[in-house]
Structures are given as structure tokens and as C-alpha cells.
């Protein structure tokens, strides 16, 4: 049994009367690539956002490397309105609701479905800014340049990282001037710069053509190998998912309907009904 990296227990996210994620539990172990798939509007990104601290889940607990980082139970008005399960399970434990930056600091970095690079910054600076989190200098020592050694070290690390992901030749370009595929890759490089233990990719192949998707698939596989990375992936492109995932979780209408290896998922009737049967992602 390998080391557990991320564990979701009974995560429920309810907006008003709408249950977007319903009692979702899942686990990711060290070194795995796990995909979370489901039809449009199934609640994938919402689940993602509860893990990364963007939303506070209505109920449930997220643990990272064995310790709980997010935890909530229905409170206030939600107590009556709550439609999910396990309302009492975490009621006696303290609520944990850290901001996204705290979660990233623990070692979990993400990319965005709609690319969110810093548009006035160069490729190099986009990655360098992600290193800001790891600084030890305070604002005075940084302003008056007492942090030269750290700054030089971070710049060297960024240069090395850009070399690995193959963006060295465009490092002084504005991030937004890159072609789409390279922007995706830059976003992944930026996430890697925070030195995460878990990389979370939100639809990395969205809007890509088959060739770009193939390149991305190879790239993700290489990231896992080179950085010894654990990866959680939300994706629509079945080729990519089936190619590189070790395990797959399928959700529909917020509920987990199947989980297992790509082979198992491909032959699961519920999944085929809910998702693969739909001619949407050829």
C-alpha cells in the first residue's frame, strides 16, 4: 500500500437548493495519475474548487498527506436546507477553511480551466512569481537587496524549470503572446515552481486539437516521471484520460457513479450511459 496523498471524505457542496457535489469520497496515492471525469455540469470543477480552498464545502473533509486541511459541516441556515448525507459525521470537529494560498503552501498546486496567466508578465516572470511563496526574505530585505542569494537561486531554479518544460527560447516573451499549447505548458510549469507534492490540472486539454493533446499527454507523463509527481486531472478528452490515468473516478449530477482502472471504466454500463454514450468528445 503506497502513501496516501489526497483523501476526500463525504464532500458535499450545496449552493442554495442545488447539490453540485454529493457525498464524494476519493483517494489519491503517491505517484498516481488520477482522473476525475463526468459530463458537463457534473460538478468536477466544483469538487476541484473545494479541494483548493476556492469554495468552502458544505460538508465533508479533505485530508492532505494524512492531515485534515479542509473540513466543514452544515451550519446556520444550511442546517435545515441541507440535502446531502452524513450531516453529523464532522459536526463535532472544528471547521477548517483555509484560503487557497495556504493550501498551495502545503504542497498542492493547480492550473485553471480557462488559462489564468499573469498577462503583463513575461514567461520567465510568470514562473518566478510562483517562487515568491517560497521566499524567506521580508519586504525590507527584498527591497534593499539583502536577498541577492535567494533571488539568484530562485532565478536559477526557474531557468532550469523552463529548460525542462522546453520554454527557454521564449522566456522573455509576454506570457499571453505564446501559442495556446505553450500557455498550457507554462501554467503547468508555474504550478511546478511552487514545488508541490500534488499537481492538480483542471481540463488541461480544453480547446486543444488532437496533435496538441498528444503532446500534452506526453508532457504530463514526463512531468510525473521527472518530478516524481502525483497528479489529479479533470478532463474531457477521453484519449488523454485513458492513456495516462492509473485510476479514474466518474461523477454525474455530483454523485460518484464509478471508479477504477481505465479498462474497468470503459466497460462500466453506468458510465457509458451517463457519459461515453454521448457523442460529445470524440
Amino acid at each position: 500500500m503506497s502513501e496516501n496523498v489526497l483523501k476526500l471524505e463525504n464532500i458535499t457542496m450545496q449552493f442554495g437548493g442545488v447539490v453540485a457535489v454529493d457525498n464524494l469520497s476519493m483517494e489519491i496515492n503517491k505517484g498516481e495519475i488520477v482522473a476525475l471525469i463526468g459530463p458537463n455540469g457534473a460538478g468536477k470543477t466544483t469538487a476541484f474548487n473545494t479541494i483548493t480552498g476556492v469554495y468552502e464545502p458544505t460538508n465533508g473533509q479533505v485530508s492532505f498527506l494524512g492531515s485534515p486541511i479542509v473540513r466543514n459541516h452544515p451550519q446556520g441556515k444550511m442546517k435545515k436546507a441541507y440535502k446531502g448525507a452524513e450531516a453529523e459525521k464532522f459536526a463535532r470537529q472544528p471547521v477548517l477553511n483555509p484560503t487557497p494560498d495556504k493550501i498551495t503552501a502545503l504542497g498542492m498546486a493547480r492550473t485553471f480551466q480557462n488559462i489564468r496567466l499573469w498577462k503583463t508578465q513575461t514567461v520567465f516572470d510568470n514562473v518566478l512569481i510562483a517562487k515568491h511563496m517560497l521566499r524567506t526574505s521580508n519586504v525590507f530585505s527584498a527591497t534593499f537587496r539583502f536577498n541577492r542569494a535567494e533571488e539568484a537561486k530562485q532565478r536559477a531554479e526557474v531557468a532550469a524549470l523552463l529548460e525542462i518544460v522546453g520554454l527557454t527560447d521564449v522566456k522573455d516573451e509576454l506570457a499571453t503572446s505564446l501559442p495556446y499549447g505553450k500557455q498550457r505548458r507554462l501554467e503547468i510549469a508555474r504550478a511546478l515552481a511552487t514545488q508541490p507534492k500534488l499537481l492538480m490540472l483542471d481540463e488541461p486539454a480544453a480547446g486543444m486539437n488532437p496533435q496538441e493533446t498528444d503532446e500534452l499527454t506526453a508532457f504530463i507523463a514526463r512531468v510525473r516521471k521527472d518530478f516524481d509527481m502525483t497528479i489529479l486531472l479533470i478532463e474531457h478528452h477521453m484519449d488523454l484520460v485513458m492513456d495516462i490515468s492509473d485510476r479514474i473516478y466518474v461523477i454525474d449530477f455530483g454523485k460518484l457513479i464509478a471508479s477504477g482502472t481505465p479498462e474497468v471504466i470503459q466497460n462500466d454500463q453506468r458510465v457509458i450511459d451517463a457519459y461515453l454514450g454521448v457523442e460529445e468528445d470524440a
Partner: protein, 369 residues
């Protein structure tokens, strides 16, 4: 490496030439000459505009509290620097006030009559900055959670509250109520202002180009991404707000110094708008732009365009050149920039970028070090 340095060399030469020019001005013209006054006022505006740019331009926090912060700095400077002997006259309605010392005199006591006053005045400026920073910290606690336009209106509100507070008669022994504060010393001529403001702006420049400055710009460009990359939004916004306010306070102190009198009444929101428009015209996110525009704006307003108000401009006499025409023209120019040249005169470029070969300049540096 040599070719990269060329633009920095040229920049340094220009700055040196400006400083030498200021010394020549000081030496050859009387201190009340319009050229010296323009340089001094433009220096003050530069500092205040750059400090506003740090917050609004680099961090993307739309704050309109500038006049209030300047007011704090201006009053601190004036109150701490009025000579003891003149306090009875200034605070004539408040029995000479409760502050019965003067920093320039205090430092003269053991540093001598030449160095002492200067040290005292610098201390008063820095005290004003620190007080403003403290105030910004307190104001920031509630308002920095607000989004764009709400933040703008809340900071504007705080500036108005501060103004009312300083005019309050009960605080008269300290602030002289709604009366003028005057008779405090000025630190020197054009060169002194350029040196002083140069040092402050250099610090801001260093900050902007440090890891913290880059984090500020990340917050401006995309807050959600910045937070997801581990940048603590609350912490960094507060930091930018406090630092910007510190320099606004120092700038306010220098404005008091330049004007020779201080009255809370003049620190209205119109002053904030004026500075904001200077920042916008220079280019949001360009320190050089803020400085150049400050000089153009002040020189135009106080000197070159005077004729528009007094009947004859560029040798042309016309009845339409009467009082107020100058400001009307200036505000039309501002509107044209705001509507049609939204990047301002510098965009987000700095002086060294202008000397780079065109293609590289367009890409905004890359911090080649």
C-alpha cells in the same frame, strides 16, 4: 552584457544631468523664481503620483484616499517644525498650542545650525510617513476586503473623515482647527527637492522590481491565480496599501514644505482626482510616466500655460483667454488621453526601455541582470 547596460547608462546620465541642472538653477536664480518653484512642486507631485501608482497601478487596488494621507503627512510636518517662538502667533486662538517643541530646533541644539534643521525636517517628514502608514494599517483592516469601486469609495470616505477631524475645533491645540499652519521652514531649493524625492522614488523602484513588487503585479493581473500560487492576498494588499500611504504621507509633508502653509480645507477629494489623472496620463504602471507627467503638468499649469488665463498666449491675444481657460484646456487634454490614449504617455514602460532596441522594448524588459 555590455550592450544590455547601455540603456541604464543613458538613464543614469539623464538623471545626473537633471540634478546638475537643478544645482545650476539654484545657484543662478533667486529662490522665488518660477522655474525653481515649478521644479519643487513637480518633485512633490512626482512622489505623490508614484506612491499612488504603486497602489493603483502596480497592485491594482483602486484607492482614492490619497488626499487624506497627504493631509496627515502635511500636518505632521507643519506641527513638528514650527519654531517655538512663532507658535504663539500661529496658534493665536489656542494659547500657542500644546506642542511646545520644534524638531529642527531640537536637532540644531546638538548638531549645529546647518545640519541640525535639515535632520529635524527629515525626521518630521519620516514621522509623517510613519503616522500615515499606521493610519493606513488601521483603515486597511476593514476596507481592503472590499472590491474595486467599493474600495475606491470607502477610501475616499476615510479621506473626508480625516479632513473633518483635522478641522475640528476640539483638536485645535494640536491642529489649529480650521486655521492655517504656517511659519515652518523649507528644506532647500530645487536640487534638495530632487535629491530627496529621488531617494524616495528609488526605494519605490527597488520595491517594484523585487519579489514583492512582482507579487503585487501578479495580484493586479489576476488575483485568483495569484492566490492559487500561494500569494497571501490580504497580507500583500495590506503591505502595498501601507507602503503607498507612507510615501503619500511623506509627499504630503513635502507639499506642506513647498506651500509654506497648510490648511485641511485644501486636501479635498479634488486633489486625489488630480493626482489620479496625472498617474493615468503618465501610464498606469509606469513610474517614469508618473514623474514625466508631473513635471509636464505642473510646468504647463503653473508656468507655460499661464497666458491662457491672462489674455495673451504665444503672442496671440484673445478675449477667450480669461481666468479658467487654462484649466479648461488641461482638462480637455486629460479627457482626450483618458478616452483615446488609454495607456498614457509611457504605457507600462520605464525610462531605460526607451533606449532599448524597439523590438525588445515592446516586450517590457525581462529584467536582464
Amino acid at each position: 552584457m555590455k550592450t544590455i547596460k547601455r540603456e541604464y547608462l543613458l538613464t543614469a546620465l539623464i538623471l545626473l544631468a537633471v540634478l546638475v541642472g537643478a544645482f545650476v538653477l539654484d545657484a543662478s536664480l533667486p529662490s522665488y523664481h518660477i522655474a525653481i518653484k515649478v521644479v519643487k512642486k513637480a518633485c512633490v507631485y512626482s512622489l505623490v503620483a508614484v506612491s499612488m501608482n504603486l497602489l493603483n497601478g502596480f497592485t491594482g487596488l483602486f484607492s482614492l484616499g490619497q488626499a487624506g494621507f497627504m493631509l496627515l503627512g502635511a500636518y505632521s510636518y507643519a506641527i513638528l517644525c514650527i519654531p517655538v517662538a512663532k507658535r504663539a502667533g500661529v496658534y493665536q486662538y489656542f494659547d500657542g498650542g500644546i506642542v511646545q517643541f520644534s524638531l529642527p530646533e531640537f536637532f540644531s541644539g546638538f548638531l549645529g545650525g546647518t545640519v541640525g534643521p535639515v535632520v529635524g525636517m527629515l525626521c518630521a517628514l519620516l514621522f509623517g510617513g510613519l503616522l500615515t502608514a499606521l493610519c493606513a494599517y488601521l483603515i486597511g483592516l476593514p476596507v481592503l476586503r472590499l472590491k474595486s469601486d467599493y474600495l475606491a469609495i470607502a477610501t475616499l470616505g476615510f479621506a473626508e473623515i480625516l479632513r473633518a477631524f483635522f478641522q475640528w475645533n476640539a483638536l485645535g491645540p494640536l491642529t489649529n482647527g480650521s486655521n492655517l499652519l504656517k511659519n515652518y521652514p523649507d528644506i532647500g531649493g530645487a536640487a534638495a527637492y530632487i535629491l530627496l524625492v529621488g531617494v524616495f522614488i528609488a526605494v519605490i523602484l527597488l520595491l517594484v522590481n523585487s519579489t514583492y513588487g512582482r507579487a503585487f503585479m501578479a495580484i493586479r493581473d489576476d488575483e485568483v491565480a495569484a492566490e492559487a500560487m500561494g500569494i497571501n492576498l490580504a497580507h500583500h494588499k495590506r503591505m502595498a496599501f501601507i507602503i503607498s500611504s507612507f510615501f503619500a504621507g511623506v509627499g504630503g509633508g513635502m507639499l506642506a514644505m513647498y506651500m509654506g502653509t497648510v490648511q485641511a480645507l485644501s486636501f479635498k477629494s479634488a486633489m486625489t482626482y488630480e493626482i489620479l489623472l496625472v498617474v493615468v496620463m503618465g501610464g498606469i504602471g509606469s513610474i517614469t510616466g508618473s514623474i514625466i507627467t508631473s513635471f509636464l503638468y505642473i510646468a504647463g499649469l503653473e508656468w507655460l500655460l499661464r497666458g491662457l488665463d491672462s489674455g495673451t498666449f504665444l503672442g496671440i491675444s484673445s478675449p477667450i483667454f480669461k481666468n479658467g481657460f487654462r484649466m479648461a484646456i488641461v482638462s480637455v487634454i486629460i479627457m482626450v488621453v483618458v478616452l483615446f490614449f488609454r495607456k498614457g504617455i509611457m504605457g507600462d514602460r520605464e525610462l531605460p526601455d526607451l533606449f532599448r532596441p524597439r523590438k525588445k522594448a515592446a516586450k517590457k524588459g525581462g529584467e536582464a541582470k
